[in-house]
């Protein structure tokens, strides 16, 4: 008995020592400081090799200092240098590129903090499926990375990213691309993109982004329409927004894909329609012309009250797609002297009609121009089939271009802001 107790004590002591020795530095021990963390990865068609890959690396010392606002005062920007460093390399594949980059930089590349994949328009049009698959298989790539298509080469694009309002570029990407208060581009994540690539009831989309090259108001003056006529703010795409800013990156619009290749783009307002149809629209300001006075506008904060209802039926071999949207809005600005607060029906009807027309025009583009079911209407007709074989034989993608749309928009004005009537002298 005594012997057993001694053995137990000896065994426990030995186990403690072995565990302490083994676990203090296992094979996979990696110091955070020994790693280099790319925040964004850019993919383009290469010239010296098939793929041009750009990595935007975080410089932790510069980021760690924090901006004045974030650190609670102090105003020191930490290391004082740029928070990012950009490396571009021509490579046969993504992982070979990471290998090559590891020959240049002292730290080991770790992709687990990458927030964005920026794909050049040229590469997107050529096809991105193989690169998306590679990133899906890679352990370090996150499925919630944002996916962007840039009108400009990613190596230039990523150099232009400057997170002025945040010291941390990762936060900049998260706030810019994952925000709820702008709907002029979709929330496009890697996992959704990859799933849509593999399905036959929906096609993928990506955020359309670009560099705003305008540097002075003279360039704005040169643009047509200036000051003469009201032009909806959503009628722009990334790169052509009339804007002067230190922040040169603009996300505006949607890149539309079919069978893994980019087939077109949507502007801001069409992206809003896309968001509304897919039920991902949160809220944004809508500007419509005044009902009685063309020189004035009415601005409302429009919110999607309920998820949209979509049904798809086959009539005479053509899909008939019906969508019912429930929206509501608050008056934000009424420029004319008409008391719309008393008669909101006028604005409601006009807004419903404008939204309906925009959506119809957007949906027709998806059939006539892109032939790509980015809204995923195929998902609603799948329920009419019992087995996967039947569904595949039906071949939804071949039917989509013949679709007929019925869109019903129910819009109600709910609130009037902080004033209930406007006195205009």
């Amino acid at each position: 008995m005594k012997r057993t107790g001694r053995f137990t004590r000896f065994g426990c002591a030995l186990l403690t020592v072995i565990t302490a020795v083994i676990l203090s530095g296992c094979h996979d021990m990696r110091e955070i400081d020994d790693m280099a963390y790319p925040l964004a990865i850019g993919l383009d068609i290469g010239h010296a090799n098939v793929l041009r890959m750009t990595l935007q690396l975080a410089a932790p010392l510069s980021i760690g200092g924090g901006g004045a606002g974030e650190s609670g005062g102090g105003g020191d920007t930490g290391g004082g240098g740029k928070p990012i460093s950009v490396i571009t390399i021509d490579t046969p594949s993504i992982f070979s590129g990471l290998n090559m980059v590891n020959n240049i930089i002292s730290k080991e590349i770790n992709m687990s903090h990458a927030k964005v994949v920026v794909i050049s328009r040229d590469l997107a049009e050529k096809g991105v499926e193989k690169y998306v698959q590679a990133m899906t298989r890679g352990r370090e790539f996150r499925p919630d990375m944002f996916i962007l298509v840039s009108n400009d080469p990613p190596d230039e694009y990523l150099k232009e990213v400057s997170a002025i309002l945040e010291s941390n570029p990762a936060k900049y990407y998260e706030l810019l691309l994952g925000k709820e208060f702008s709907s002029y581009y979709p929330e496009a994540r890697m996992s959704d993109f990859q799933h849509a690539l593999e399905r036959n009831d929906i096609e993928p989309v990506a955020v359309l982004s670009g560099i705003n090259a305008k540097e002075s108001t003279d360039e704005l003056d040169e643009m047509s329409q200036i000051g003469k006529q009201y032009l909806d703010e959503g009628r722009y795409e990334a790169g052509d927004v009339p804007m002067i800013s230190d922040l040169r990156i603009v996300a505006m619009g949607t890149a539309v894909f079919k069978n893994g290749k980019m087939v077109g783009t949507l502007d801001g307002i069409e992206s809003v329609c896309f968001e509304m149809i897919t039920g991902k629209y949160r809220h944004s300001y809508w500007t419509i012309p005044d009902v009685y006075d063309k020189d004035n506008v009415i601005v409302m904060n429009v919110v999607q009250r309920k998820k949209p209802k979509a049904t798809v039926e086959m009539k005479d071999g053509r899909p008939v797609i019906t969508v019912v949207l429930d929206l509501e809005g608050d008056f934000t600005s009424l420029q004319s002297s008409v008391e719309y607060e008393k008669y909101p029906e006028l604005v409601e009807n006009k807004t419903s009609e404008i939204i309906r027309q925009n959506i119809m025009s957007f949906l027709r583009r998806t059939t006539d121009e892109f032939d790509s079911d980015i809204c995923g209407f195929g998902r609603y007709i799948k329920g009419r089939f019992l087995t996967w074989d039947e569904w595949e034989k039906f071949d939804w993608p071949s039917h989509y271009k013949n679709s007929e749309f019925n869109v019903e928009v129910n819009f109600k004005i709910r609130r009037t802001g902080l004033i209930i009537r406007q006195i205009i002298s």
Binding site: L15, C26, H27, D28, T136, R139, R142, P143, D144, K171, E174, S191, Q194, H195, E198, R199, D201, G376, R379, Y380, K382, G383, F385, L386, T387, W388, D389, E390, W391
Partner: protein, 369 residues
């Protein structure tokens, strides 16, 4: 340590132990397996598997009624003497040993894939081996009591993952409702009842339990709990990953956990998955390893288990390295254990019960004469 005849444990401990043995597969592969077999109707197949398991268990437990307090080896001895007892012991022990070897290899490979990519496989496996060897020395009571404490934590972690992934679900993923077809759901579903193969441990527990009613209730409660987790696991997975993308993930629950992002603060919930998964795996391996030794030693008429622990562990360690790669392990698991496991757990043991009943009936009759 002598055979643990005097050790008794309660219903909850036994339920936790048997439920973990079956539900560990949810973390490993079960969700993907149902999709591989029945497409997006995998959840219907999961319901069918559980229904068949309940039916087969009901039949077994009805046959077992006459043998209160006896385990499967005692019953085999009644049916066919020491020879059948030995055959049964080595068959069931062999199956459990095979399960332990496959699972330790797979768990280690999985850990290597997701957490320790540069560590040698043997290094990863040594930690599991150490755990199961220590558990073997401490005995069944420690394993059972440990599982009673750990399983609620594992369940809580799993439920957090299921709730966290809710914003990602899409109901249209369930259609076409019958997936790859009713034939696949029913036919493949029947032999995937092998998922419940570890239920045979339940018929090794009676000496540690109080009564027949205990065994019966523990079985039903365990199957009900497992059914809940298997069905919800498969259903949520299909709702999150559309078919055919759902065929791709190597570790379904891990892949689901990677998608969870609750605001900018709660991200990378998969670290929770690794924690609950390893706890569950360690209990699974400890249990299966212990009962493999227990069955073999009892079949061989050995008085003590402890001297067998180290040799068994070395054999297990070596056996786990026999498959050349991870794909070979998955092939053995999917093509053999998960296809024919039902034959051992339900048919083989069922035949022993039946035979023992006939022998017992014959003896009673002859005594009556």
């Amino acid at each position: 340590m002598r055979m643990e005849k005097k050790i008794k444990f309660g219903r909850w401990e036994a339920v936790a132990l048997t439920s973990n043995l079956i539900c560990t597969k949810v973390f490993l592969y079960f969700n993907r397996l149902t999709v591989e077999d029945a497409g997006n109707a995998g959840w219907l197949m999961a319901i069918f598997i559980c229904a068949v398991a309940v039916a087969l268990y009901s039949l077994q437990i009805w046959q077992y009624k006459k043998f209160e307090g006896k385990d499967i080896l005692d019953i085999a001895e009644i049916a066919g003497g020491k020879i059948l007892k030995a055959i049964t012991g080595f068959t069931l022990g062999g199956l459990l040993f095979l399960l332990a070897a496959i699972t330790i290899r797979k768990f280690s490979e999985d850990i290597k894939t997701i957490s320790l990519p540069t560590s040698p496989l043997s290094y990863v496996m040594v930690f599991f081996m150490a755990g199961i060897v220590i558990a073997g020395f401490l005995g069944v009571e420690s394993i059972v009591r440990h599982s009673a404490i750990v399983i609620p934590i594992v369940v809580a972690g799993y439920v957090v993952i299921l709730l966290g992934i809710m914003p990602k679900i899409d109901v249209t993923n369930l259609f076409p409702i019958f997936g790859t077809g009713l034939k696949d759901i029913l036919l493949k579903g029947f032999y995937r009842t092998s998922i419940f193969a570890e239920l045979l441990v339940l018929f090794m527990l009676p000496p540690f339990l109080e009564s027949y009613e205990d065994v019966k209730n523990i079985g039903y409660v365990s199957i009900s709990l497992c059914s809940f987790f298997l069905i919800t696991g498969s259903l949520v997975y299909i709702l999150v990953f559309p078919y055919p993308s759902s065929l791709e993930p190597f570790l379904p629950v891990f892949n689901m956990a990677r998608l969870i992002g609750l605001g900018r603060f709660f991200q990378r919930i998969e670290s929770l998955f690794v924690f609950i998964w390893v706890m569950s795996a360690l209990i699974y391996l400890s249990t299966v390893f212990f009962f493999a030794m227990y069955t073999v030693s009892k079949a061989a008429g050995l008085k003590y288990i402890r001297p067998m622990i180290i040799p068994f562990a070395i054999i297990l360690f070596s056996t786990a390295f026999l498959p050349a790669d991870l794909i070979s392990v998955i092939k053995v698991e999917s093509g053999f254990v998960n296809t024919w496991g039902w034959a051992v757990t339900f048919v083989f043991t069922g035949l022993i019960f039946l035979w023992a009943r006939i022998v017992e009936h014959g003896r009673r009759k002859s005594r009556g004469k």
